[in-house]
């Protein structure tokens, strides 16, 4: 009976701690977990089998036609494959008492920006209410997307309001090992893209230079050996 009471006390203690520490990863040793493999909507050949990618969702009340709360929504992968930060009062929302924003994973686009290689899923950002527009506060809104690789040179995030409109390249900054961030221009489709790699070996000049250096070094060695002999 005494032991049972102690167990209950322990559970209550941890429950209280959890309630006071929202969104804490329950790992108590202090070593961060490595990123899980990228979750594709449409898994390419050779990619690891994973759970389905998740959707980022957040809701804010609307007062006076303006979304009141800031929203920091992220998908649930480790690390999140998509996240969106909207400051308070960043959205004008006509005729509604609440607005929900979603970032939904989609298969990588089949019509990427010209000459670019799409990387990972596309994400479609949408609002639950039609006619939502951005206020000046939305200048601080940020989109972060995880690439499938940390390869450099870095990729860029591209955006289009709808599939019928052309892609726009967004100024993209590296925010983590393979996490990239950009401003939030509005609802629509976001895709990480890599520029094609330059054709390695297109010029034989480096090999020729190395060859010349090796021959020159060998000649110097031979000459010095003969001189000393």
């Amino acid at each position: 009976m005494r032991a049972a009471r102690r167990v209950v006390a322990g559970v209550l203690l941890v429950t209280g701690g959890l309630l006071l520490s929202p969104a804490v990863v329950p790992v108590y040793d202090g070593i961060g977990q490595p990123d899980e493999p990228y979750r594709y909507v449409d898994r390419p050949d050779g990619a690891q089998v994973t759970a389905e990618p998740t959707t980022a969702v957040g809701t804010s009340p609307v007062v006076g036609g303006v979304a009141q709360h800031g929203m920091n929504v992220a998908t649930k992968e480790i690390a999140p494959q998509f996240s969106l930060f909207l400051p308070p009062r960043a959205l004008k929302v006509p005729g509604a008492r609440a607005v929900t924003v979603t970032g939904t994973p989609q298969a990588a686009v089949s019509d990427p920006p010209a000459g670019m290689q799409p990387d990972g899923n596309a994400y479609l950002v949408a609002f639950s209410v039609p006619g939502v527009t951005l206020t000046p506060q939305a200048a601080l809104a940020t989109v972060s997307m995880r690439a499938t690789t940390a390869e450099q040179p870095p990729p860029q995030i591209h955006y289009r309001p709808s599939a019928a409109e052309p892609w726009q390249a967004l100024q993209t900054a590296r925010a983590g090992t393979e996490i990239y961030a950009t401003r939030f221009p509005g609802p629509g489709q976001f895709q990480v893209v890599f520029a094609p790699k330059p054709d390695d070996g297109s010029s034989p000049l480096p090999l020729v230079l190395v060859g010349v250096l090796v021959v020159a070094a060998a000649a110097v060695v031979v000459i010095r050996l003969r001189a000393s002999g």
Partner: protein
């Protein structure tokens, strides 16, 4: 004097971890292993008693349930997500085992024995446990880690050995891999 030396050594170990970890102290395995090495040296110098017993193991297993139950209930009811896969788990657990052993040998071994009253030792160990995570995750982790630290200290008192909090700590971390 011994207590002051242990606390100073502990603060140094945390500081070194932050320095070596750079921008990502929580994700740096070298920094974690250096931290664990410092704690192990301190703990071994103090020569804590670590009696191995079935009671230590069984109390530790109960501790896993106590620590994980609220997290699992919360996750199941409010934040359901399929469990994470086991890819990468083994090397991660190996590093975690070293760190957990070092933390428990120090906090619930050497430090615990350096304090004359058990309840003071439990509280001091919990405070140190919570504070060591602040540079890694931020101040918002303090309530949860303080609570878990108190439970781990309670397990130490209940079992009479640091083996119990070691088992509970390691088990909770392992569960955390799959549900975090």
């Amino acid at each position: 004097m011994r207590l002051a030396a242990l606390l100073a050594g502990f603060a140094t170990a945390v500081g070194l971890r932050v320095l070596v970890g750079g921008d990502d102290p929580a994700g740096s395995v070298p920094a974690a292993l250096l931290f664990a090495g410092c704690l192990l040296v301190l703990a071994l110098a103090a020569r804590p008693s670590v009696p191995l017993s079935w009671r230590g193991l069984s109390v530790g297993l109960v501790g896993i349930a106590v620590i994980c139950q609220p997290v699992l209930v919360h996750r199941t009811l409010f934040d359901w997500e399929p469990l994470r896969g086991a890819t990468g788990f083994a090397p991660w657990l190996a590093a975690v085992t070293v760190v957990v052993a070092a933390e428990e040998l120090f906090l619930r071994g050497a430090l615990f024995e350096a304090v004359p009253r058990p309840w003071v030792a439990v509280v001091l160990g919990a405070v140190c446990f919570a504070l060591l995570h602040v540079p890694l995750y931020g101040w918002h982790v303090v309530p949860l880690d303080l609570a878990v630290g108190l439970v781990l200290g309670g397990l130490r008192v209940e079992a009479g050995t640091p083996v119990a909090p070691f088992v509970a700590h390691l088990g909770a971390d392992a569960v955390g891999w799959f549900v975090a």
